[in-house]
């Protein structure tokens, strides 16, 4: 097990290094730079050159990368050009809010996806099963920003049930209840895709398990069907679901840009959106690096969890 863990951890190093190169170069390859943005469209070349020099953007690319990576390894992701603050503190601060949103979405996804999956597996080929297939297809294919806008228009504007934006009320108290109230719509929106995926995987995994010998044995012993499903089949059927929840959480972290923007949820996604608009390179680089690194780490954790739950994985690796 230790060898497997060390091997997997070491394998993430080149991945992370690759991520850093891609993150750094992608932002450099985009035409224009922060100096041009700061100087404005009507600035002279001299103005832009002065600002570029003040930001260190006039140095050779490899020097800029080496400096950036050296600092990043030490936890210093530079300073935001647009907001004049340390990037590391800024992205970590916003990561908390994204995690709140991701956890809220995961709760919704599990609460919606798993029961639907179980119901459609146990009532295979029924109307309910077909409806769940359609629902899952819908959840998987509709754009999250569209769902978000529809929820805002219906539940916020017309029914006035939930706030349309933000994490806390700017007027009045900002307690846990207020947070949950604000979290509902964005979390529900973001849970669309993972709920659909969970429903499908739960269904197929449970269907497979329900055909296993030990389930047949349980049934033959005269155990009630509900008990067979809940006590005997579900535990094993949920093994791939656990893995999937982990991976989907990774997607939730990185995939929340649109949802955070629609709901003005002050997380990493909205921060990235603003930073890209402002061509705030250090902030974009820092944010993308953090999301990418988290994704790699979550994958690593999922691998380990899976290896722990199913020892055959270790031998295969």
């Amino acid at each position: 097990m230790l060898r497997f863990v060390v091997g997997r951890v070491l394998a993430t190093v080149p991945v992370l290094l690759g991520v850093s190169v891609v993150v750094f170069l992608t932002m450099k390859l985009i035409p224009g730079d922060a100096a041009q943005v700061l100087a404005g469209p009507q600035a002279t070349r001299e103005q832009v050159a002065l600002i570029r020099e003040s930001l260190g953007l006039n140095r050779p690319l490899y020097v800029q990368y080496a400096t950036w990576l050296g600092n990043a390894v030490r936890g210093n992701l530079g300073r935001s050009i647009e907001l004049e603050a340390p990037v590391t503190a800024m992205v970590l601060d916003r990561l908390k809010n994204t995690l709140v949103l991701a956890i809220g979405s995961a709760v919704f996804a599990i609460a919606i996806g798993v029961p639907i999956g179980i119901l459609s597996a146990t009532r295979r080929a029924s109307l309910l099963d077909r409806a769940s297939v359609v629902l899952a297809l819908f959840g998987n294919s509709m754009p999250s920003f569209w769902l978000g806008l529809v929820l805002i228009l219906v539940l916020s504007l017309h029914l006035r049930l939930f706030p349309s934006q933000g994490m806390y009320s700017l007027r009045g108290s900002a307690g846990l209840g207020d947070l949950v109230w604000h979290l509902t719509l964005p979390a529900l929106t973001l849970s669309g895709v993972p709920a659909a995926v969970l429903a499908r995987v739960t269904r197929s995994s449970l269907l497979e398990t329900l055909h296993d010998d030990y389930v047949r044995t349980a049934r033959a012993k005269g155990i009630a069907e509900t008990r067979v499903v809940v006590r005997h089949a579900l535990g094993n059927a949920l093994l791939p679901v656990v893995t999937l929840v982990g991976i989907q959480t990774g997607y939730l972290l990185g995939g929340s840009i649109l949802v955070e923007t629609v709901f003005s949820w002050p997380g990493l996604g909205l921060q990235l959106y603003d930073a890209i608009g402002a061509r705030d390179l250090p902030l974009v680089q820092g944010g993308v690096l953090l999301v990418a690194s988290l994704f790699v780490c979550i994958n690593l954790a999922v691998d380990m969890l899976y290896a722990h739950l199913d020892p055959r994985i270790r031998y295969a690796a």
Binding site: L38, P41, Q42, S54, E84, A85, R160, L170, V262, A278
Partner: protein, 532 residues
């Protein structure tokens, strides 16, 4: 006849304006002193840091007007043609050669940190953005303020409340430049305390509102400055809430989560208008949207062709139907309501027959193809694509087959810095044209690339150059205005640009928000606002 009368009335108003700048007007009367609640504003983007001297775009710059004062200012409590008024300067003298400016400063003003405002504070601010030897010199600030402070001979404190600024060359537009938001005066003590890097997170000015706190992505809070020299604002304070998604922004206003929003999206305007609890107001922006033709390489070097293109555009329909009323046809460089607007300039109407005739005169009786570059990502307007498509059809109607090539915005900017090249006939731009000094940057031959990127079309006319040069040395405001109006007229006659429309912004607020002045500007102030 009508035109003569209009013009005479106009000239007299110009003269009155000139007298006002010699004996600066006071600001509009102070609002009632009783504080009335906190205004929550939905902003279209997260504002940048609050450096007093860096232009981070209109979403941030308008906030500088609420935190800081400048020596002189455009009075944003006046809806249109905002007069140039004394702000931290109460009076000034300009030498006949337009090089030396001596300002008398307002006494008894304190920065929000309690330190006194005086001539040393002004000198500190100017030196910080112009003198590389200054302890708190900032290259970014110097780059940003190069237009105003880039050619200084000296900055001298004559006494505690008098400062003299000397330019190496005549610079009669200096006062207008000083009224721009980034010429805000910051507290030297605060800059010394926090240093250049951290100061923008602790902005300290003398303005009507004090910065309180910021949660990035969530809110920026400001409170009233009870000691404001022109009278404390009526509000307790205001909160800026970034709401980048247009539909969410309007919904938040409709549900009462915010009280005031900027940049109402065109599709939501009807919903806001029909809501009895909301007010929707359009503001004429100092914006000019159009095309810069290539004056260096044929065929757009031919005047008749440029004029033909100008006559071919149906601006009325474009503004009314395509832009849903969020624009008016442009006759020249400056929009109505901006200080540089000359109502006497008639510009080009919509006359396809005349356009075809001019096309023949230019030697293209059967028409011609044109290559036009446009910036991607809005093209300087939320309607950019539709506008270009509409005009493409207008051109086609007279036989001009225009190909529009989209370029990524920053690539486009970089190309503009190099000037329009041989294979391109025109580029499309949406420029902020507020003060006369813009004309210097748009039309001077010596500012063609590579000396600048604001005349990328290589426009050059010795007569215009002479007028612009004379304007820089003319301290009499009325005379200078007339010189600039002549420049505008010449630019229109030359079809230096193909002027299309001046855009508007839509702002909206709850009916319980009172006293907001919606100026013809990207800037505005909450100093006059109260809540019922």
């Amino acid at each position: 006849m009508t035109r003569r009368l209009t013009r005479r009335r106009f000239v007299s108003s110009v003269l009155l304006g000139a007298a006002a700048s010699i004996a600066p007007r006071a600001w509009a009367a102070a609002p009632p002193a009783k504080p009335r609640g906190t205004l929550i504003c939905g902003w279209e983007a997260e504002p940048g840091a609050f450096d007093n001297d860096i232009d981070r775009g209109a979403v941030t710059r308008t906030l500088l007007h609420n935190i800081y004062d400048r020596l002189v200012d455009r009075d944003m409590t006046v809806p249109a043609r905002q007069p140039l008024v004394g702000n931290l300067a109460t009076a000034w003298q300009v030498s006949p050669d337009a090089r030396t400016y001596t300002f008398k400063l307002r006494r008894g003003v304190k920065f929000h940190d309690g330190t006194p405002f005086d001539a040393e504070a002004v000198k500190f601010n100017i030196d910080r953005d112009s003198d590389p030897g200054h302890k708190f010199y900032t290259k970014a600030g110097a780059g940003s303020l190069k237009l105003g402070y880039g050619n200084l001979a000296s900055v001298d404190v004559l006494d505690q409340y008098t400062i003299r600024i000397v330019h190496k060359e005549p610079f009669a537009d200096f006062l207008e430049v000083l009224a721009f938001g980034t010429y805000s005066i910051a507290s030297p003590a605060a800059i010394q305390k926090y240093g250049n890097d951290d100061y923008p997170n602790h902005p300290v000015g003398t303005g009507p509102f004090r910065y309180v706190s910021r949660e990035k992505g969530v809110k920026v809070a400001f409170e009233r400055n009870p000691d404001y020299w022109a009278g404390a604002p009526a509000l307790d304070g205001f909160i800026v809430r970034p709401l980048p998604e247009a539909v969410t922004r309007v919904t938040a206003l409709q549900t009462g989560e915010v009280d005031w929003i900027n940049a109402v999206n065109p599709d939501s305007m009807d919903a806001v208008k029909s809501n009895p609890n909301l007010v929707l107001a359009l503001a004429q922006l100092p914006n000019t949207w159009g095309y810069i033709p290539n004056h260096k390489y044929p065929p757009t070097t031919k005047l008749a062709l440029r004029q033909a293109l100008s006559w071919a555009i149906d601006r009325e329909t474009l503004a009314r139907d395509v832009m849903k009323g969020l624009a008016i046809p442009a006759r020249g460089t400056h929009a109505p309501g901006t200080p540089g607007y000359d109502p006497a300039i008639q510009g080009y109407g919509y006359n396809p027959a005349k356009a075809k005739q001019l096309l023949s005169t230019a030697g293209f009786p059967t028409g011609l193809p044109l290559e036009v570059w446009i910036p991607a990502g809005g093209a300087g307007s939320p309607f950019g694509i539709q506008m270009n498509e509409f005009i493409q059809q207008n051109f086609k109607d007279i036989g001009v087959n225009a190909t529009f090539q989209q370029q990524e915005f920053q690539t486009f900017q970089n190309n503009m810095a190099n000037g329009i090249q041989k294979d391109v006939n025109a580029i499309q731009v949406g420029f902020s044209v507020d003060e006369f000094v813009n004309l210097q940057r748009m039309f001077r031959t010596d500012l063609q690339p590579p000396n600048g990127n604001t005349n990328p079309g290589w426009y050059g006319n010795p007569q215009v150059d002479a007028l612009l040069h004379r304007a820089l040395g003319t301290t009499n405001d009325a005379q200078r205005r007339q010189l600039y109006f002549q420049v505008e007229q010449k630019a229109v006659d030359d079809a230096a640009w193909i002027f299309v429309v001046h855009q508007k912004a839509a702002r909206a607020w709850n009916k319980n928000v009172r006293g907001f002045v919606n100026p013809a500007s990207y800037m505005f102030t909450f100093r006059t606002v109260s809540m019922s």
